[in-house]
């Protein structure tokens, strides 16, 4: 049974939730829309299709303390950072970002479970929002994601000036408990139909991903066109840091003077010092690094995860790459449909 709420009473709902849980929603600050903690004077932007940084930051933040060491003479005492305990709601997550949580779960929740990520996933309620106006850079349709009916604890639709909620999990039910139920669900059905129509018009909506799986690993790896594709790549980390499914991180120590703070932070396979170990022979040229990124998304991850691609088609890398080199180039250049 769906629930509904007039759109202009949404801040009221947030205020009520904020008493007990932190509300994270797409808000605009300094001209950009990113997920941030909602407060009274935040500019809520549910109309913005995509935030710059994906929603993964709520569960896998860019920087996170792990442990703190303090030296007392010769004795070292260790203070592990405590995991998240407060509840929070992340509101306005699009279908693609919602799928990325599943992909990250396969990495962080598989044995050995990452305690920090697990705690956040457990205390977080994901409220997804259907995409009323998908854009040309979207291509989630290739990965079995339904932008019109995204997965999540609660799925919402904004039809006209009313927002409809459908609880999918216990957390979802708890979230929508004291909302008035919606008698007439037809606007939602109609909105879903429109969205599906628009999704058909996506320029990259229907790519042919055959050939990108574990069995053709070596063919893809040895393809001569990688150096051609990678030539324009600057080796910056934009594509990896806006990507909702990138999960690589580096562990660093910071000497605060009185103790040592060990923290982890996002790392990018595009950086020249990615996985630079003692003997100093990590991937030497940009071609190798470029290949590693897309091989992981389209070949390595699926071969380890029953064909589940590590790309959710959000299109952020299409928009944000300074030189417009991205996964679509790779799929079209190396995939079966070279002529498409």
């Amino acid at each position: 049974m769906m629930k509904q709420l007039p759109l202009d009473r949404l801040p009221e709902l947030f205020r009520k939730i904020s008493e007990k849980k932190t509300v994270i929603a797409p808000i605009q600050s300094a001209g950009q829309v990113n997920f941030g903690v909602w407060t009274e004077d935040s500019i809520l932007r549910l109309d913005a299709l995509k935030t710059v940084k994906s929603a993964k930051g709520a569960f896998f933040p860019q920087v996170e303390d792990i442990v703190r060491f303090r030296m007392e003479g010769k004795k070292i005492d260790i203070h592990p950072a405590d995991v998240l305990t407060e509840e929070f709601v992340i509101f306005g997550v699009r279908g693609c970002d919602a799928r990325s949580f599943e992909l990250l779960d396969r990495v962080f929740l598989s044995d050995p479970v990452d305690p920090f990520y697990a705690a956040r996933r457990q205390h977080g309620t994901v409220v997804t929002l259907a995409c009323n106006e998908p854009e040309e850079t979207c291509f989630c349709t290739n990965f079995g994601i339904d932008a019109a009916d995204p997965a999540g604890d609660v799925t919402c639709w904004i039809a006209g000036d009313v927002i409809y909620f459908r609880a999918n999990t216990e957390k979802g039910i708890a979230f929508t408990a004291d909302l008035e139920s919606a008698e007439n669900e037809s606007p939602v059905e109609e909105l879903k139909k429109n969205i599906t129509e628009i999704l058909k018009k996506l320029p990259f909506g229907a790519l042919n991903l055959t050939g990108f799986d574990g069995d053709h690993l070596m063919e893809r790896f040895n393809d001569p066109r990688w150096s051609e594709l990678a030539r324009g790549c600057l080796g910056c980390g934009t594509c990896t840091f806006v990507c909702p499914t990138c999960q690589c991180y580096d562990v660093r120590d910071f000497d605060t003077g009185s103790d040592i703070q060990r923290y982890r932070c996002w790392d990018s396979c595009m950086f020249s010092d990615f996985t630079l170990m003692a003997h100093g022979t990590n991937r030497p040229t940009q071609t190798e690094r470029f290949r590693q990124r897309f091989m992981h998304k389209l070949v390595y991850f699926p071969s380890n995860n029953e064909g589940l691609y590590s790309c959710v088609g959000c299109g952020r890398c299409l928009e944000k790459c300074p030189q417009s080199i991205h996964i679509i180039n790779v799929i079209k250049a190396l995939g079966v449909n070279k002529d498409a």
Binding site: M71, G73, D255, G257, S258, L276, G280, T281, N282, P284
Partner: protein
């Protein structure tokens, strides 16, 4: 991890009085890497250093931190100690807990806490130190003396006697400097020329000394042992080799309006002149401003009458470039401009003269041929008033006077008074003074003779005003001992003016990068321990250029400077500064930003084979010439990637010091 020994010095009570040295030693014990920490009354003493040697051996220390006085004092001492115990001298760090801590903080708790922080910073830096070895550079076995007064001459003679070549560069046409203008010298009343000219002649005839007169230093580059000086020899318009010094041209010259600088402009001289009889080189010089040939193109009488054909109107300035191992600054002094003291009517009456002008009047070779006569009406004066400290010890008006005591005026005024009283007993001499400062050997006895034997009237007090009244000079001053006003109608007034460095000193100091004090005297490396050296290595100070002093002290300092020069030139090579820049070739961009800021041009570029994870192949790499680099570090900051670093003061060393201080 390093094994560090910390040694906290009491410095007698200088540190221990306001810093709890035991607490500092204790606090440093639990610093990372510190395996030994102790304190002692005098670390720099023999058994203090023995304690260090002992600790190094016993604990196999890899580095030591000495918390003591300024590194500028004993860094070298403790480095030698480390070497004697087999430790690299650059594994020594000094924490300055005396001048920059115990001496300036009264409260013990505050002082101790700061000392601990400074010690920690030194330990933190030491962790990042690496053993360094200094390179060597050749020494040019020739010295350059700038200034041909008694200071320059004496230094040149001493250095030349040790067998080294010396060039004397003298700005005026002849050497001899200020002393040549004097009549007698205190305290023995020797005739100044009699004791100076033999030295001048000796210098001229010494095969190792080369006198470059009427010349100035144009530019200087290089560093100790390897200076390259460019000297501008101004055109004399007279060929030095041909001129015999006969002086015919000086008599024939019709232009008589030039003021004779040698006689303090009290009389006139020809456009072509020889400054004084015993001039060395005994060669005439043409003053282009006064010479009619240059002004109107006519005349040329001197050329016509010169039998040796030495006059050469086409002569041009000559630029001489030579290499030197050491440079001695002996630029001497000049009396300050007395025209600023109009309360003494210096500008109103020619009979108010400065002491040096008075010296010329008394001098037999002077404008009055030794006759004591008044410049105004050439009459013999019967009453002379001398005013001491004109412009000296004058603190309230910086532009007019000098804050310091010029040191020599008390003595030469007593000399003047005695000479006048002895030669002309009829002349009454009054001397207004604040304190009679005559501290040298036989100085006070000399002054007592002036007072008692020649009953010179010494009045303790200052002169308020000197007014020209008719042909008399009404001097109005105060007598502090009797507490009364004194009025004297004097025939002449002599101003014992302050002395200041030669006007060329400031520009010379900039050229030599020698530091100077606010009065333009050259600052010595250390007021007590290194008075004849200037901070930049290879630059030495001789004479009044370094500060007011009399002739005995000047000659003593000249000898000391010579000894330092000889000590330097007798070495075949000099050990260079070990803390020089170094390139990390793996990450050098070869962008030549560093070369642009290097003041010594020590950085060059070459294509080198590079093998690093990031790059394999040929690349343009900066290389530092360790002999030329002086370790200023300008290049390390323009280098964006930090490829250029400075040994001994590396980026990580300084950063760890900052971390330790801000902890």
């Amino acid at each position: 991890m390093q094994k560090i020994g910390v040694f906290v010095c009491w410095c007698g009570s200088n540190i221990a009085a306001t810093v709890d040295v035991k607490a500092v030693a204790q606090a440093l014990k639990n610093e990372a890497g510190v395996v030994f920490s102790t304190d002692y009354q005098y670390m720099c003493s023999e058994n203090g250093q023995a304690m260090i040697r002992q600790a190094i051996k016993e604990h196999q220390l890899t580095g030591i931190v000495v918390c003591s006085c300024s590194p500028r004092m004993h860094e070298a001492t403790f480095r030698k100690t480390a070497v004697s115990a087999g430790l690299n001298p650059y594994m020594v760090e000094i924490a300055n807990i005396r001048e920059q801590c115990s001496w300036i903080h009264k409260d013990i708790a505050e002082g101790t806490e700061k000392a601990i922080v400074l010690a920690r910073a030194a330990v933190a830096k030491l962790h990042k130190n690496a053993p360094l070895t200094a390179g060597t550079s050749p020494v040019t076995k020739r010295a350059l003396v700038i200034g041909g007064g008694i200071a320059g001459i004496q230094t040149a003679l001493d250095v030349a006697d040790a067998g080294f070549e010396v060039d004397i560069v003298e700005k005026s046409p002849t050497i001899g400097g200020r002393m040549a203008q004097l009549d007698k010298t205190f305290p023995t009343l020797d005739c100044s020329a009699c004791i100076l000219t033999p030295k001048m002649v000796e210098a001229a005839q010494h095969e190792k000394i080369n006198i470059i007169s009427y010349a100035e230093l144009e530019s200087l580059s290089g560093f100790v042992g390897n200076f390259t000086a460019t000297i501008r020899k101004k055109a004399r318009f007279i060929d030095e080799d041909k001129c015999s010094g006969c002086g015919v041209c000086t008599e024939k010259c019709p232009s008589r309006k030039g003021l004779d600088e040698f006689n303090m402009k009290l009389n006139k001289r020809g456009a072509v002149y020889i400054p004084f009889a015993q001039a060395i080189p005994n060669v005439a010089v043409i003053d282009a401003e006064q010479c009619l040939h240059f002004r109107t193109g006519k005349c040329g009488l001197c050329q016509k009458n010169c039998s040796a054909g030495a006059i050469d109107f086409e002569q041009k300035d000559q630029l001489i470039e030579r290499k030197y191992g050491a440079i001695v600054v002996a630029t001497g002094f000049k009396p300050i401009d007395a025209s600023a003291f109009n309360e003494y009517a210096y500008n109103d009456s020619p009979d108010v003269v400065t002491s040096l002008e008075f010296e010329r009047i008394m001098n037999a070779a002077g404008p009055t041929k030794g006759q004591l006569i008044r410049p105004s009406d050439l009459k013999h004066p019967h009453e002379i008033v001398v005013i001491q400290c004109v412009g000296s010890r004058c603190t309230e008006d910086k532009e007019k006077g000098k804050p310091y005591c010029s040191k020599i005026c008390c003595m030469y005024t007593a000399k003047h008074a005695m000479l006048v009283r002895e030669k002309y007993p009829d002349v009454k001499v009054h001397v207004f003074y604040i304190d009679a400062r005559t501290p040298g050997k036989n100085f006070d006895e000399f002054y007592r003779r002036a007072v008692e034997q020649y009953d010179v009237d010494y009045i303790k007090g200052m002169v308020g005003k000197v007014a020209v009244e008719g042909d008399k000079l009404h001097v109005q001053g105060s007598d502090l001992l009797n507490g009364e006003q004194v009025h004297i109608n004097a025939d002449m007034v002599v101003l014992a003016t302050a002395i200041e460095p030669d006007p060329t000193a400031r520009s010379l100091g900039t050229m030599l990068t020698a530091s100077m004090d606010t009065n333009d005297f050259f600052t010595e490396a250390h007021p007590k321990l290194r008075p004849v050296e200037s901070p930049p290595a290879g630059i030495f100070l001789s004479g009044v250029a370094q500060g007011p002093k009399d002739i005995p002290e000047t000659v003593a300092q000249a000898g000391a400077a010579a000894a330092k020069v000889i000590g330097l030139l007798c070495k075949n090579e000099l050990t260079c500064n070990a803390c020089v820049a170094q390139t990390n070739e793996a990450i050098c961009n070869g962008c030549s930003q560093c070369e642009k800021v290097c003041p010594y041009g020590a950085i060059t570029y070459e294509d080198k084979e590079i093998r690093s994870p990031e790059f394999r192949g040929i690349r343009r790499i900066a290389t530092v010439n360790e002999a030329i680099c002086q370790g200023c570090g300008a290049c390390t900051v323009t280098c964006p990637s930090g490829a250029m670093d400075l040994k001994g003061f590396t980026n990580s060393q300084i950063m760890s010091e900052v971390d330790a201080i801000c902890r």
